[in-house]
């Protein structure tokens, strides 16, 4: 199929429909409104169902219900709206249900602003809701990658019965790039024999539940979920390493910030500074092994993490490299975007200290 020029938000919606998503429940918020708008138009054309709920809390509980019935279902929102959905997300994780949640991040805290940010990293990868659980968090950096990861996200959710989040930002949602909707090889997925599709006496009753009053039963339940997380870590971790061979400084960044850093690698090369880029594509599971293996190399003198936040992923980078090399941070927040020249200045400063 040929390429089409699409806004990130619309591409996410179209990719979801092509991946078989037939249910969308949401509540409007900038900068992701094109997703529900596109779904409202397209879902009825393919026999699906779009509901603009009365609130984010209602929307995520509709997702919970549809996921329990075995549907491919998604919701999308932006930072403050995702905060409202956290109770439902924790229930969905506790009940082991698959769904896709899109967060097109804007500046915070509070109502914050509407410009792009990455300050929801902690919320996405460290919990957000209550209890012991993880979302699988995918962080695309181009619209093509977003489209590819939407399908993958639904498949991961179904394979492991766990909610998956796409973590984008306002820039990725609003910009346009050419995309191609490729025919993907379908994953072999387990049957949804746990779904509440109506009991006719021919199988054990399906029960969707996240309440376990007996603490031993709850511990066993959580342990089983965490065993699944080990499988996810082993099978689904994704990372891109660019220019890392013989790099003096490795910069780590994800999403659109990684694209800005990529521009900086060329600017630095012109000044004779060798920098590499490690771009985690899955933020959970985090590519800790990859970072650690580069930290063990002699030519790598220091790490710099660049984010549109006050420093969140940098904590995972620091943990991963485990004191082997110094870990630095540079970020802008509140909807401000790091400028290539400022990142380069930071790199030169670090180079002065560490080399």
């Amino acid at each position: 199929m040929s390429k089409v020029l699409m806004k990130g938000n619309e591409a996410i919606a179209e990719a979801a429909i092509q991946a078989g998503c037939r249910f969308f429940f949401g509540y409007p918020i900038t900068p992701q409104n094109e997703i529900p708008a596109y779904m409202a138009k397209r879902l009825p054309q393919v026999g699906g169902c779009f509901v603009q709920a009365e609130s984010e809390v209602a929307a995520i509980n509709m997702v919970y219900g549809a996921a329990g019935a075995g549907a491919r279902v998604m919701t999308s929102s932006s930072s403050p709206g995702i905060s409202l959905k956290q109770e439902g997300i924790s229930y969905i994780a506790g009940a082991e249900l698959p769904c896709l949640i899109v967060n097109i991040v804007r500046g915070g805290p509070g109502l914050g602003g509407i410009q792009p940010a990455q300050s929801d990293y902690f919320q996405a990868v460290k919990g957000g809701g209550h209890g012991d659980y993880h979302l699988v968090v995918l962080a695309p950096s181009t619209i093509q990658e977003t489209v590819d990861l939407v399908r993958k996200g639904f498949d991961i959710a179904d394979q492991y019965r766990n909610p998956v989040m796409i973590l984008g930002d306002g820039m990725l949602g609003q910009m346009m790039e050419p995309v191609e909707f490729k025919e993907a090889k379908p994953r072999r997925l387990p049957p949804k024999d746990w779904a509440t599709t109506g009991w006719k006496g021919d199988r054990p009753r399906a029960v969707i539940n996240s309440l376990f009053i007996d603490p031993q039963v709850l511990e066993d339940h959580v342990n089983r979920i965490y065993k699944k997380y080990e499988e996810i870590k082993a099978n689904e971790t994704l990372v891109e390493c660019y220019n890392c061979e013989d790099a003096e400084i490795i910069v780590s960044a994800y999403g659109t910030t990684a694209r800005i850093v990529r521009s900086v690698t060329e600017m630095a090369a012109r000044k004779g500074i060798k920098i590499g880029l490690i771009r985690p594509i899955t933020l959970w599971p985090f590519p800790a092994e990859t970072l650690r293996s580069w930290a063990q190399r002699d030519h790598v003198k220091a790490f710099l993490t660049v984010e549109m936040s006050m420093g969140q992923m940098v904590e995972d980078v620091t943990l991963s490299i485990d004191g082997l090399k110094p870990s630095h941070f540079y970020g802008r927040t509140g909807g401000m975007v790091p400028r290539p020249a400022d990142i380069l200045a930071e790199i030169e400063k670090i180079r002065g200290v560490n080399l």
Partner: protein
């Protein structure tokens, strides 16, 4: 070759659609492109801008901080983006609405009375296309006017194909102004 463009003006002047046409035309020519809009609380009468990148390489950052060309359709846009033009780059000024000249000596500046020409053509709506025509006549590394027309045919859809001749004429008038 990489073309990095900032287009800015009042909301309603067609800033966003100009950028989309450039990106679309670049895609039709098989290049890598990106279009990034400002999406603040802009509305009709407010200011709006977009960044367009057209390149043979991959598009790294979609943000344009060092523009090969800036197109300013109103005065606040000129004030804001004049300094974003790289030395040797190009600045296109809508002289119908902007009464000052460029203060830079290290760039090429072009003054296009876009609204007057659009009114002569019978529709003030094509002022943006007039400036686009001027830009295309100068920017050798950008897309061809032919691709812009192809893109316009696709963007307008089957119901609005009657607008094509007017836009073709507007592109031509903009280009002629530069070549004079």
């Amino acid at each position: 070759m990489t073309e990095q463009i900032i287009i800015a003006g009042f909301g309603g002047q067609g800033v966003m659609s100009m950028g989309q046409l450039l990106a679309y035309a670049g895609m039709l020519e098989g290049k890598n492109v990106s279009w990034l809009p400002s999406y603040g609380p802009e509305m009709r009468g407010g200011t709006a801008n977009c960044n367009v990148i057209i390149t043979d390489d991959m598009v790294a950052s979609p943000i344009v901080t060092q523009a090969s060309a800036v197109i300013a359709l109103n005065k606040p846009s000129l004030d804001k983006f004049e300094n974003a033009v790289i030395p040797g780059g190009m600045l296109f000024v809508n002289s119908s609405l902007i009464d000052r000249k460029s203060m830079r000596g290290d760039i090429e500046a072009f003054y296009i009375p876009a609204n007057e020409i659009a009114d002569e053509l019978g529709s003030s709506k094509v002022a943006n296309t007039v400036v686009l025509g001027a830009y295309l006549a100068k920017a050798e590394n950008s897309v061809s006017p032919k691709s812009i027309i192809e893109a316009l045919k696709k963007v307008l859809g089957p119901d609005k194909q009657d607008l094509i001749p007017l836009n073709k004429e507007a592109l031509k008038r903009g280009a002629e102004l530069i070549q004079k």
